[in-house]
Symmetry: D3
Subunit: 189 residues, 6 copies
């Protein structure tokens, strides 16, 4: 097996990037024990790096009706559907941790209809996949179906916005061939 590049695009030397990016990278390395490749792959575009992680934090760390596991589950299901290896592998690992469930990420990545999740979560993922694949047709009946499961409008915004941000991220990882770190594959299994 040859050595595989992290990205089709250049990875800048850590000494050559702005301090705030370097700080973010050092921090994630301390917390995770390694640097997730998405941090390195975006570092050659500092403004985009900042905007991406700001958006990421705004949506994934938010308080509200969705648990952190729910949020990761949306990422894994839509990323599987979009064929994004980076997001399925990396967020699959985080989902296993957040959900304290070693099976759910592999299940949701392939087919959420057959996953060990609640009906409420299935409705959440049905909606996420509709936003991902056919947002033009979203209408009030979709809101009603989610209200029936106890989601309020703010939760629905979160589901759709997470879907949208990671749909963007899926396209980035695919066109730039961003490679998931090997650490993610075995984490929390």
């Amino acid at each position: 097996m040859p050595d595989h590049p992290i990205s089709r695009y250049p990875i800048p030397d850590l000494d050559d990037i702005p301090d705030d990016l370097k700080d973010a990278i050092v921090a994630v390395n301390e917390k995770a024990g390694f640097i997730p490749n998405i941090f390195l792959a975006l570092a050659h575009r500092p403004d985009e790096f900042r905007a991406f992680f700001a958006y990421h934090e705004a949506l994934m760390e938010r308080q509200g009706g969705l648990t952190k596991a729910d949020r990761e589950m949306i990422v894994v299901a839509t990323s599987g559907d979009n064929g994004c290896q980076y997001c399925v592998v990396a967020h699959g690992a985080i989902l296993r941790i957040r959900a304290k469930n070693s099976l759910v990420a592999d299940q949701v990545a392939v087919n959420h209809h057959k996953a060990d999740i609640t009906d409420r979560q299935k409705a959440m993922l049905d909606f996420a996949l509709k936003v991902s694949n056919d947002s033009r047709s979203v209408d009030e009946s979709d809101y009603e179906a989610l209200h029936m499961h106890g989601f309020d409008d703010d939760d629905i915004w979160d589901i759709a916005a997470i879907t949208g941000l990671f749909g963007f991220s899926n396209r980035l990882a695919n066109f730039a061939s961003i490679r998931p770190n090997e650490e993610f594959y075995t984490m929390a299994r």
Copy 2:
């Protein structure tokens, strides 16, 4: 015709939003003569507002091999394909201005193959639509086709990242029913 809401979600009173958002809104109003509804529609989520416009600026105001008209053209073509009324109407107006061409936005929104644009621009939009609809299959042959038209790897990142960001924006505008301002329809025709 009833009065149509700007968004399915609440529009906060300008006095109730953080100062930096208010400043951005005042500034765009001074520049454009009206407040594009996307600014109001995102204002109830200040962190997302900031991240969205930071990303927007990073990609749309960037120097590089793509003109500002090229960048808007990517938005209009992919937004038409995604069925996003807000982005087609609003960015269609900006495209007419940037390209100094009153026809091109309507053409590109419906079918870029039949638009009055260069072969280079057609190749750019072919790639954008592939990233939008089938990013999993992007490979080195796509890069080669674009290199043949004089795009370098940084330009290709721009094409794909603009496609990705506005694919996100299309989904936001669709699920939240964000309505384009009437001013956009007739601008620069």
Copy 3:
């Protein structure tokens, strides 16, 4: 910007075409102030010219439960979905006139779900798009849904037949690269 041909196929000299075609062309020129390119693009095939405009008149000028604006709206929505620039631009102009509404054509061309139209019109366009994209599955439940909105069977024939005729027209305009006149772009805005 180079001079753009009206069609990939030859446009006959007006003196070389049969009198009835010439009369039709003169008449439309007097009424509209210019000759819509579809008249010129079909003139090299007199029998097809006659059949096309006979069909067009039979369906678009018919009395019945559909207004003239409704009929144009069907054309614009299905032509947008079929990626036909000629029909979206030309019939978009006529729709603005018929509906006395400067916004509705651009809205319906991109996404009728988000247009300023009645629920009855949305049901009409839902059916038109089903006929356009999946006519094999049309069944009695589609009729029932339209009856609920007050359409009778004759109206439903009109919706489906207009969809069918313009689906044909969309394919003609696309394969022959028939270009919309510039006059249509700004008409009735």
Copy 4:
């Protein structure tokens, strides 16, 4: 097996329809030995009846680079793809007669790639199916591929226009549930 109606729409009494329609129906009955149901199904709309059969004759009886068998083959292949029972059964019968081949209609209706036809005919049907399913993407390379097989631009117009007219006809037959005559099933087998 109950008696099956010819159409979901009313079939007028022959005495109640305009003379030219009656004459056409009498003529086809004399020639074929029965009245193809499409004549009866369109008779309640005399103007559309006239336009449809005028168009049909203009395209199917035309002299040119396509044989009559080629023309019927386009109808059968695209109608099979559109799920139109009337056109597959009725034009399948005519194709068997025109091609003096009892197998080709059933082959082409299911999968033209595996039919006993020439490479030139396969290229013709590839183009017809592209016009039928993705006319927006037709471009000069499609013309070049057909020129290589000896089709000129007029032949290409014929292929595309036949595809378009019968795409319309397929939608008519599907939404109105127009039933093929039993005579067609066994003709020329």
Copy 5:
């Protein structure tokens, strides 16, 4: 018309194949009066020949809530949708015999919604096509819809398994270009 090969793959001499295959081929020849090409096309792979026909018999000769005509109808409808000429032509013939109906095979192959079949059979074919095209989404509501028509769970297994086996067979016949015998085309018309 050149002589057409039975398969893209070699057809072994009958003397060179294992006795049990030879016996099966002799038996079918005696029963049908000719050797269906699928027997010859699979003979170069004896183990696969045995497994295929064992599976075929297990599903098509089974006692249960589905008649033999129902079973053939599933094959014809899904094979038409999969573009498999061999299965449409060969099983179309058997369907005509089993259903004692000379029209139904051609109808179901093109569009089961417009076929002369019962509502129960339409529900059966709706489910078969869902299993064929979107098995990931099958859920309890599909079972309920079929129970309403009197199918029990064992019948549903049969519908789905026949769909699956012939989906496999459709792919085999397509990649190996297995040609239907001419005898099938006219049988039982």
Copy 6:
């Protein structure tokens, strides 16, 4: 987390099934250390059980140009595309063992274009996915592309037949909700 059933269909008591099935189940249990659920899920249909595993063995244990890892890789890639959780999880485990590679199964299940595999394997999987999704269009050019990578016609039969058999298996596992054993998830990581 409730206890999850192995299948929507009944699992017979081992004492109630034919001896040859029981023997097969005992044997796989001894070899693997557990009974893969597919054995239990098919046991209520002994004839189908026998045919399925005979076919499975004929294709997966065959000598030829494909390695055992290649064969499992085809299963994982097409099963991921078909949304079959059982096959992705179970055959993903076997692929990790056969390929002596702990990453490749998760990669191939999501997007084989981005997997750590050879160009020859990518061509193999491109073909498998074409057979899976569009077998009607397979033609000689597909054979040529595979010959260029050193596959002979027998290897191509294997690729296509494995794709077909597991496409069947994917539909079985999906409609019957057959659940992968937990042991597979962590095997050979």
